[in-house]
Chain length 272, copies 2
């Protein structure tokens, strides 16, 4: 019997269990221009938490602060259960390389999600079906090639014909793994950082950019995700302000069936 | 010469400097139903960071995870500079009481904000002037009395006449300190948690609620805030989803002059 071929994303976010210290390795497949794709780093941290023997419940929130560049190669994850209550867990994770300073600092909350009154106030964004849109042409960074981006609104044309400045920072697009993979909390975490920098859209050009802090909230637990059973999300992202070298981003990840799976926000550095 | 009377908010968020361990004390003036108002806790943490001798730059982001109830009285803040680069600092703060488990876990980013291309994509929300709106009548929780809330949209009537369910979770309101105090990053931090729980608005009633994780981004540095020179903000808040005992909130804090000062998001527990 042949071993099931593992998805590249699962290779990229693999962790080796420790007690409080776990190990991982950056992935060349999910490499960005000057370091690993932040979404893969965040998903690797989340995987270590999910695989942890003390973990209980589903992820509710993850905040990742990118403190310093991450070099190609191995890293350690110092995983600590800071506080556990009856229904929630609070975690802290510090990523280091070769015993040097902390490169990535994360906090997470897990929760046993009990049935309650349920109300989705946001309305599902209207969109042309995935199948009717051409994939976004692959660009230089390896991680971008791992995704199948299909723009409904705001498809960028970096370095193309000049556009009115500033252009809208809003995007609506389908996001799937290039090799389809069922959406789980790991892919949601990664996809929540898979939007192109808003400043690229607003300026119509690539400029030096780096995410500084990323927060994602999960609005679906494992049972909800199993029920959606999908390999893609409809994603929207926008920005409110670019000022003194930093800009924000907000985003939503929806199932094709119309369920809001995750919301995300980040603040990033830019040079322009 | 008489000593200048200190504002209640400054009393409430006072910290006593240590090296890595700082001390504070909960404030009865900013007490909520079962613990201190989370905004005051967050502002106290931010004050300890701002007052820290190693601090450089302005706050860019603060994430506060509320891990366990905080009892009335003294607390310790274990403040750690996790990583400093040329222009950014990454901090971690753990609040404990009497050497017990961590009650509050926070991470923060400070940055030297250099001049750059600047663009405020969001538009200032239209609003009736502060002076033309009656203050929201005071309610039971002491902390609410410390603020002057003037609703432009979505004024709640908890326990009043029944309303269509679910109602909108959107609010637009002016927020100032009851005794006017110039807006600084500390008051912005606190005000970013000063919205009534979105679930109260959506259901038209008070239900058990607690913020689990709060993230605020600052889009104005000290010079920007000094230029605004105001004692109030125009604030909007909304929610996207309530599901399986947790709901989100997004918010914006604007200066009366039309500058976006801070954006915020949180996820909270509710019982309904």
């Amino acid at each position: 019997m042949l071993a099931k071929t593992q998805h590249l994303f699962d290779d990229a976010t693999r962790v080796i269990a420790g007690d409080s210290r776990w190990q991982g390795r950056t992935s060349d497949d999910y490499w960005a221009f000057v370091g690993p794709f932040g979404g893969a780093t965040a998903a690797t941290i989340l995987r270590a938490l999910i695989d942890h023997p003390q973990r209980a419940g589903d992820p509710l929130s993850l905040t990742v602060n990118f403190c310093a560049p991450i070099a190609q190669g191995a890293f350690d994850l110092d995983v600590r259960l800071v506080k556990a209550n009856r229904s929630t867990q609070h975690w802290s994770v510090e990523m280091t390389q070769d015993g040097a300073d902390v490169a990535t600092l994360a906090t997470a909350v897990f929760a046993e999600r009990r049935p309650s009154w349920s109300h989705q106030q946001s309305t599902f964004p209207q969109a042309v079906p995935f199948e009717q849109i051409l994939p976004y042409p692959k660009v230089a960074a390896p991680w971008v090639k791992q995704y199948d981006f299909r723009f409904v609104d705001g498809e960028p044309d970096f370095g193309g014909k000049p556009q009115a400045m500033p252009a809208s920072a809003f995007s609506k697009l389908w996001i799937g793994d290039r090799i389809p993979r069922k959406i789980d909390v790991l892919s949601l975490m990664s996809m929540s950082d898979a939007f192109f920098a808003r400043v690229f859209h607003a300026r119509g050009e690539l400029v030096p950019f780096g995410t500084v802090s990323l927060t994602t909230y999960f609005h679906a637990d494992a049972a909800d995700l199993a029920a959606e059973d999908t390999t893609r999300v409809l994603a929207v992202a926008d920005a409110k302000i670019f000022h003194k070298s930093y800009g924000d981003q907000t985003g939503e990840l929806w199932s094709p069936g119309g369920r809001l799976l995750a919301t995300t926000t980040q603040i990033g550095y830019f040079k322009a």
